[in-house]
Symmetry: C2
DNA sequence: TATTAAAATGAGTTATCACTCACTTATTTT
DNA sequence: AAAATAAGTGAGTGATAACTCATTTTAATA
């Protein structure tokens, strides 16, 4: 069975959004670009109007506030990020699709990296919000985190049963995987100089596989 | 060895040029706290004055603009974070101090984590700036990155010569180490729920050691 | 204690920005 | 084509925030 490509989800969303006028789309695009370039607070609604080539009043036609405009941009991401992060793996499929640890890691991450690459700007806006909006951060996390832990947990447990993965607590495994993933994403978002993204990506899979491969020195140090 | 706090540095810095008054110190402290709590843009100068227990005019007595106030906080961070991140390891000490990979990882790591813990607020302010001020980000990076690459590189090369570390390009090794480090720091800064910091820390060293331990499957996949 | 200089004050100024609304232009319906 | 509805406009408004300055308070010095 073919899993739908992640990047397709999002493309759909922007275009299928009912009868959205060209000017309204221009406003969304300009907002996203500016929020990602300068940050939400540093972007004025007149900036947006100017970049989109519309009058300032037009910005407020569909979105009552500037915050509502930001949320309209984030909504499709929030809606899709959950199924993407916590893709549902049926127990049956596991053995067939992920006979080796490397196959598992590769499958998981090509998906997520593709999604991230297609939505770099949106992710920047999300991270900016998450950094200082404590309430919403906790709200979003409380929705996403349990699902990720549960879904990924079941895969990890399966691999553990087959002794294909290191025997560490699942939350610790997830943390190190996510650290590597976010480290890679940071490079994308910050456009750090001197990075060859393709090379990094291949490396990422190697490192993650290595982290997860069971071995002899896997006891956690410290008391 | 005790790691100093950045706060001490900037108080030092200030007391060098003339005596700093208690109120001016209160303003700096309040600014730092508020910038870390709410972000720079979301903090008004009247907020700062109120928190510091002074009149708003007093804020502008020493610092001509709000941006200058932020820079007065960032300057000592930028000035002192370099030698700390890129602590100089003398070639002689290397073999004695880091006879094993784990000794290296542990040393590097406890050092920097302790530093980070003592300066969480300052780090938050720096990261906010780094996120959207492209110019200054590149400026700071161009100063720090080469030093880190050079200093850490010499240690890594030493370990490579002794076959104590995996034979990957140094920049890729650093990337995975920094990813793990920053993943851990994110937990500190964002106060993510359900994390037992001590446990994470012990785990981190284990993971990093595992990543870096040379093995058989260390070829980087993909072309 | 008297004099002088620096520090602090807070009411006031200016500028910006999010947002509104009476009106015009475009599109759809009859 | 006329009427009705929706989309778009831009000058205008109130609020807020950065910043100023004439005056007062505190500290230093003679």
């Amino acid at each position: 069975m073919e899993r739908p490509r992640i990047r397709d989800y999002f493309q759909q969303d922007l275009s299928q959004n009912e009868t959205i006028t060209p000017k309204q789309r221009a406003i969304l695009q300009a907002s996203l670009d500016l929020f990602a370039e300068k940050g939400f607070d540093q972007t004025s609604t007149s900036d947006i109007a100017q970049r989109a080539g519309v009058a300032e009043g037009t910005v407020y036609r569909r979105y009552k506030t500037k915050a509502a405009l930001r949320d309209a941009i984030l909504a499709p991401i929030a809606a899709h990020i959950v199924p993407i992060l916590a893709s549902d793996f049926s127990e049956d499929e596991l053995r067939q699709r992920y006979p080796s640890l490397q196959a598992f890691v590769t499958a998981i991450f090509t998906d997520r990296v593709a999604f991230a690459k297609a939505n770099v700007k949106e992710l920047k806006v999300i991270f900016e919000m998450a950094a200082f909006d404590t309430e919403r951060r906790e709200q979003i996390l409380s929705q996403i985190a349990p699902k990720v832990v549960k879904q990924m947990g079941s895969v990890i447990n399966q691999l553990k049963a087959d002794h294909l993965i290191v025997d560490w607590p699942n939350d610790l495994i997830l943390q190190s995987l996510l650290s590597q993933l976010f480290g890679y994403l940071a490079q994308l978002m910050l456009e750090l100089p001197g990075t060859e993204i393709e090379r990094e990506q291949a490396y990422l899979i190697t490192v993650m596989t290595k982290i997860l491969t069971p071995g002899e020195h896997d006891q956690i140090t410290g008391q």
